[in-house]
């Protein structure tokens, strides 16, 4: 009846245009991206070595590193203090399972990346979330962008990321940050907006400046929600583990890739199980950090 208004030429030109932009960025901003790369690695590489029990730098004595049992011990201790006995036991069991299955080193690589990505996400996402809570306009603008970040398939931005950073951990961290930051921003925003209006009024009524209001009232009170955002952020980061491994970031994803490439379903599954165990462990610990406060407050 009507003809389809398809105009492939437009699509083609558009995609060429974008290719051009990407090339332009890749070629012209190399120093910038090198610097970013160096920055991320400066954080990530020592962390990874530390977790894997390697000396942080050549020539350092071995005892300046962290043996596997100490990593487990410290984590279990943290779990115990923040989340109670049950979670501590769960953590121990899962850790030992990881170790027995020979996934410990992979898990530590994954942990290092996840941790770094989360740190960067917090450093970027928290201010954006706060700003979004204060400004409805900012909120309206950021909403579709966050939607896009979450639904845009990561494959799409992996290629430019690899061109910019080369294979390795940095593009993995970047892709993870892009994918994992939206819930943190959203929940920070929500958390601050949800702070009891009367308490905010009280703080203003007693002469808080807006900065004092933020640091002394809104952030502390939004903490449970923000912690939930961080928790979500970590969970989403863990969902990127396989993709990270695809672009050279090592970790548990390697096992999955290897298993799949060889059609060894079981091996892939074990690798996947490793990721699941890490996720459950981290989830339970971070969740209870948020909750313990919340349950006290309400």
């Amino acid at each position: 009846m009507f003809d389809f208004p398809k105009n492939l030429e437009i699509g083609y030109q558009l995609s060429r245009l974008m290719d051009g932009w990407v090339d332009w960025v890749v070629i012209n901003f190399d120093p910038l991206f090198r610097a970013i790369n160096a920055g991320v690695l400066a954080l990530l590489v020592p962390l990874e070595k530390f977790l894997m029990g390697e000396p942080l730098s050549y020539g350092w004595p071995q005892w300046l590193s962290m043996p596997w049992w100490l990593v487990i011990g410290v984590t279990v201790y943290i779990a115990w203090r923040t989340a109670g006995r049950n979670i501590a036991i769960l953590t121990t069991v899962l850790f030992l399972l990881l170790a027995i299955l020979g996934l410990f080193d992979f898990a530590m690589q994954t942990l290092a990346i996840t941790f770094t990505a989360t740190l960067i996400a917090i450093a970027i996402g928290l201010p954006i979330g706060i700003f979004g809570a204060k400004s409805d306009k900012m909120d309206a603008i950021s909403r579709p962008i966050l939607d896009a970040m979450q639904t845009m398939p990561s494959f799409v931005y992996l290629v430019p990321a690899i061109m910019l950073f080369g294979l390795g951990k940095t593009p993995a961290v970047m892709a993870t940050v892009i994918y994992a930051i939206p819930p943190l921003i959203r929940l920070t925003n929500l958390g601050i907006r949800q702070v009891d209006k009367e308490v905010v009024e009280a703080a203003i009524a007693f002469g808080s400046t807006s900065r004092q209001l933020l640091t002394k009232v809104q952030l502390p009170m939004a903490k449970p929600t923000i912690m939930a955002g961080i928790n979500q952020c970590i969970m989403m980061a863990l969902a990127m583990v396989v993709i990270c491994s695809m672009i050279g970031a090592k970790g548990l994803g390697i096992e999955v890739m290897n298993g799949i490439a060889r059609l060894e379903v079981g091996r892939g599954f074990l690798g996947g199980l490793g990721i699941v165990m890490m996720a459950i462990m981290i989830d339970r610990i971070t969740q209870s950090v948020g909750k313990s406060r919340e349950s006290k407050v309400t």
Binding site: D30, M163, K169, I243, I247, G248, I254, M257, R262, L263
Partner: protein, 316 residues
Amino acid sequence: EAAKPTIKFADQQFESQWINNAIAKFVIENGYGNPVETIETTTPIMQASLTKGDMHVNMEMWEQNIIEWHDESIAAGTLENLGATYEGGPQFFMVPQAFADEHGIKTIDDMKKPAVKKALADPEDKAKGLFMNCVIGWQCAEINRAKLVTYGLVPDHYNIISPGSSGAMEAALAGPQKKGQGVFGYYWAPTAIMGMYDWYVIEEPAYNKPCWDEVGKSRDDKTYIAKEACAYETLPINKGVWSGLKDLDSDIYTLLSKMNVGLQPINKTAAWAVDNEIAGEWEKAAVYYLKNNENIWTTWMPDANAKKVKDALAAK
């Protein structure tokens, strides 16, 4: 003739396979009247599907990379190898041509030069260079490692990094080329990336069987170091088909078993495709190939079918 079965081709997302699939599709659809479907997929999915008949044909199996599966499946009678699609895809180590010129790289030993290493430094471990391996889980990844160890590049001079997909591998090679920087990796031809940029293929000792057996031992046992290493054998790129294809449509089976497109014509077609920006319309490349290589493809089929193909070509 709606009754003719649909022939399903695997599309593993690389250029030479796209061209070959397009050629086969054009020939089958126009010459035989079977519908053809190409299924976009990844290697493991292809493996799981081809032996079940969810896919029928893989025009480029690269079975060395998945040799265990290949051999097991042939033995189990679920897969057939219908012989070469073209004579051989070379596999090699390479650096950008400009980089090779700048640093005077000729042989694999030149890669140990401190200046080269420094230019290729691994950002995570600045003391060493970085080598871009092939996809995780493919045999070539282990072979490359074995060779580099024997050449003395690993672990003293280089770290190895492995991408998880061919797309990532290409991006990792293309990025430095765009920036005019160095990169050291493994690749093969014919491929788009080889057409797009100038590469220098690093000289290695020539292929020979005893050497390759040594490499093979090291490939299978990480702790073993091969006594010698050498360049890849240039092996034919074979067609793999589902063992049920013969029963499904024996004419197509016969066609495919005869179909050999030839390395040079394919390389030419690939170059033409790049020059003409065909934007994913691989049929254009197939038509270009068929128009220019009539002497080759007419040998694949009876005259009656060839006539139909020619008619269709004439209409293009």
